[in-house]
Assembly symmetry: C2
């Protein structure tokens, strides 16, 4: 049974990659820059998206958000809609990650021709999302200070395939034992030269530097 299981898992991943390539072609054709945003539960994915939306409000950048959740709740997508941007809710039905099929369906709804930037908020999970390409341009992880400085050592796979790392909740550094050098050493080992932006979505610190990078990507 286990050989058959491995074979089927391989087939699923191949089918996923093919559909991811189709997603990418659709996104590219619309001239949209796209992000797959991954993190632990509660690292601040939605807060980071809202900080980005609010900072770009006066710049005429339209941001579409695909919200992945394991349960049929609209807590996050309601927040995005309240900020005036289109949000599509994807309920994974208990599954622990988004995949290219779900994104393919969501792209039908999001109105690619009306947006400049697409942010996909993946399910809160540091493990499974790393294995499924969605077709987006940039894989971004949000680490957060309260999670601790040992996470790159314990969840290496998700850090290996990253393009950008956000370190959120730096306003909490005075209250926690977080060794930034140890954390960054772990990152450097897995993904040398990775672009890192330390931010606080609460105070706004670091957000302008992140936006400088983002604005070079948006056409």
């Amino acid at each position: 049974m286990s050989e058959k299981r491995i074979k089927i898992v391989e087939n699923i991943l191949n089918a996923n990659d093919q559909l991811a390539a189709e997603n990418r072609a659709r996104i590219d054709a619309a001239g949209v820059f796209s992000i797959n945003l991954m993190a632990s539960p509660g690292a601040g994915k939605t807060s980071f998206i809202l900080a980005t939306i609010n900072a770009l409000l006066d710049q005429d950048v339209k941001i579409g958000v695909i919200e992945g959740d394991t349960a049929p709740v609209t807590i996050d997508s309601d927040k995005i809609s309240a900020a005036g941007m289109p949000a599509i809710q994807v309920n994974t039905g208990g599954q622990c990650h988004l995949d290219a099929v779900m994104i393919n369906n969501a792209l039908d709804e999001i109105g690619l021709d009306t947006i400049d930037l697409l942010i996909v908020e993946n399910v809160g999970n540091l493990i499974c999302p790393a294995a499924f390409r969605l077709g987006t341009h940039s894989n971004i992880v949000i680490a957060s200070i309260p999670e601790g400085d040992d996470k790159p050592y314990k969840y290496p796979n998700i850090y290996r395939g990253l393009d950008v790392l956000i370190i959120n909740k730096i306003d909490l550094l005075p209250y926690l034992d977080f060794d930034m050098d140890y954390f960054k050493q772990g990152i450097e080992m897995l993904n040398p030269g990775l672009q890192i932006f330390p931010v606080s979505c609460k105070s706004g610190e670091g957000i302008p530097t992140w936006l400088d990078w983002l604005e070079t990507k948006i056409q």
Copy 2:
């Protein structure tokens, strides 16, 4: 293919449950109380285990720990060993949860006859561990204040099957917007009357109340 996939997943879960029952029988025969400890990455599982070990040091309670990690790192099991307790490291090889097979193998090593309490530290993940019984007596989740008050609404499955909920990092409450009533309403909806222990592993607050419960379970 998808029907075949579902069938195979069902077979795997059935096989898992059978082995979980075997694990339980072995644990019961040894007169050991056992816990499956689940949480997001960085919620404080290892800190909570260490706080429990240290608080029971003068009471002649021997605690064995099975450490689940997705990567071959011994950061957590080294901490347990340093605290003078037996620790078995289980590397899931990238898999996002422990299962009954892994625990069955680890039970061979842990020395069940030499311990009073077995704590299994599951992989840091709020989704997948909920689906796999290990054979332990109590399912316990550690939620942590920085993760936010909306987690029961967004990750309901893991809260449904719980026996005890630990709310960790309450020392950070003054620095975060965490609505305890909203959080507890979400829990109550999913798991009415659930036993909840708010603690700070850093300051030690709340640990004695947790120990009062634990000591009723250890023979």
